[in-house]
Symmetry: C2
């Protein structure tokens, strides 16, 4: 069993540190080789760890009394974040003390601190945020979800490779179907970046995934692709529109069951099934945005997550670390025409802890 | 009662001409002042009109045997579309024989032909496609839905004005709440175009709407704004993601009711209520994309619409024509700083038929 240490920002998020420690215990059940380094206020965190039998023997606690506040600006976090729980978690990855960091704190601050400490991977021009979303077939991976507002064709191609590696490691797909998010499926549709990326992907031999062309917004939830590649503006909007629409339909549904005495009775009968539906649509199931393209792994959890959701974010970190995502992606990207791909020179030790 | 003539491309769409004539009859019931000019194959269209008592006295039929095929390229439609049913319908608007045209034909061809024949309004730099979408509060207007892949700040400001006028006339809102679609609600979020448009709108006095700032993807379905303004790439993706997600949740729901004998029984009891839910989410209810910003009104219906959906598209055309949208928007846009707004010189006769 490979060693696997995950650094946890134990102070980030709305319900820290309780649900974070609870989530770590749930994740440990699924990954028995998992070890943790928690960064946070020892007075609060230590009793929680001691209360979890699964965590006692595999956890280290590093005390820090400071944390980055939920509304801190990224620039301020970069200047003054040193020594905070989030900063120390990312630093542990940089220094090889952990293979991945997980935080439920402020997204902008986490991205800024992670980029500052870990730096962009030499084969990648722009990092991206990737996450899961529900489809009729199960789940798909989408990226970028907001790290970059504008992207060129090369950025999108890199996202395609990173998304495919993510889907291989976390969804266990041998050859994921990868598509570019666009406003039509014909070759001429969309902006230059999307059309240019499609051309590069079509011309690259031996892709480690199946490039299926374009996918439209209505194809996302139909599971038309396992990996949906987009710039961070459209990707963020698609993801959040999906969340909002699922909530809209749930609201309509609740109103539907209040319509008549028969529908109220129906609700009582269908309650267990409807509870299962609610769980299927529960955003905590899809919690965890991986920040891909750095010299090390960082996963962002929703700030309002519960313990099960935080465990899902840790699972993403574990799957990517166990599959050596950071070094694997450097190999994968060598397939792109060398004219545009910088030589990969990062040593393997950056992510594989000795 | 103002005179109101709508030109109908009677040959466009999957179920032409049957559902189109049926839709016209439904629309006539709601707008007794409505008159129609149908363009299409007389052998097919004439018997259908004669079968509708509501249409006999208010319809003119102009025969044409040619039509633009569903997969014709826009460039080809512009070169060879002359004399087709779609072309003639747009020409009727240009020549003042109708105040608006409605077509369920090929979207790209319709946009190309409409822009060629009607030209962009002198106060507008780029036309946009606007449509309704369902929210927890009722419905909102969103634009652009795909006419423009990239937009600058001035384009977005014009879309805000056009969307607000659309919402006033078609939803009857005195002062619609208008927001820019973005990936965050803070001032610094998003791309230059979105931030620049927000600044112009904040600085423009006496807006004929309430500018509420930014809305994220998850705010669309929550009805956070009556008008959602976006470039055509993100707007198209948001709209189609919403459609796809509604279908996903419906599929989940159907599976939920098949889970057990109790949930099957529940389905039987709740069937009338669930039927109402299905109707509420029926895309035909929100059918009709208005092509705004030309010297005349053109409305695009979904190709696969039913008669009720086609009537909804005609209703949009009727509401905008009755409210003199095309001339009204020229007045509205005079409020933007004159440095960027070209002088409006289009004569009122372009849209108000004598």
């Amino acid at each position: 069993m490979s060693p696997l240490t995950v650094a946890i920002d134990a102070m980030g998020g709305d319900h820290a540190p309780d649900v974070l420690i609870g989530g770590a215990a749930i994740a440990r059940e699924r990954y028995p080789q998992l070890r943790f380094v928690f960064f946070g206020d020892a007075a609060k965190v230590e009793p929680l760890i001691k209360a979890q039998p699964l965590l006692i023997d595999c956890s280290e606690l590093v005390h820090t009394a400071t944390q980055i506040s939920p509304d801190e600006k990224p620039s301020v976090a970069m200047r003054r974040g040193k020594g905070t729980s989030m900063w120390l978690a990312c630093e542990a990855v940089r220094d090889g003390k952990a293979q991945a960091a997980v935080s439920a704190g402020n997204t902008g601050a986490l991205m800024a601190v992670a980029m500052l400490l870990l730096r962009t991977s030499p084969a990648i021009n722009r990092p991206a945020i990737a996450s899961f979303l529900p489809t009729v077939r199960g789940e798909s991976v989408m990226l970028d979800l907001g790290a970059n507002v504008g992207c060129d064709e090369r950025n999108l191609v890199e996202f395609a490779f990173m998304g495919a590696a993510f889907a291989r490691l976390s969804l266990g797909l041998a050859k994921p179907r990868v598509a570019l998010l666009n406003i039509g499926t014909e070759d001429l549709k969309g902006n230059e970046a999307v059309r240019g990326a499609a051309q590069i992907l079509r011309e690259t031999p031996d892709l480690p995934f199946e490039f299926t062309g374009f996918v439209e917004g209505n194809g996302i939830a139909q599971g038309e692709a396992d990996v949906i590649v987009s710039d961070g503006f459209a990707g963020n909007i698609a993801l959040k529109t999906q969340e909002g629409t699922a909530r809209l339909v749930s609201a309509y549904l609740a109103a539907t069951f209040r319509r008549s005495i028969w529908s109220r009775l129906a609700y009582l009968l269908a309650r267990p099934a409807l509870q299962a539906l609610r769980e299927r649509l529960d955003p905590n199931r899809y919690n965890g945005g991986a920040l891909l393209g750095l010299n090390g792994l960082v996963v962002k959890s929703h700030g309002g997550t519960n313990a099960v959701g935080f465990a899902a974010a840790i699972a993403i970190a574990a799957d990517l670390a166990l599959g050596n995502f950071t070094t694997k992606i450097l190999d994968d990207l060598k397939r792109i025409a060398p004219a545009t791909a910088p030589e990969a020179v990062v040593p393997a030790e950056v992510t594989v802890q000795s």
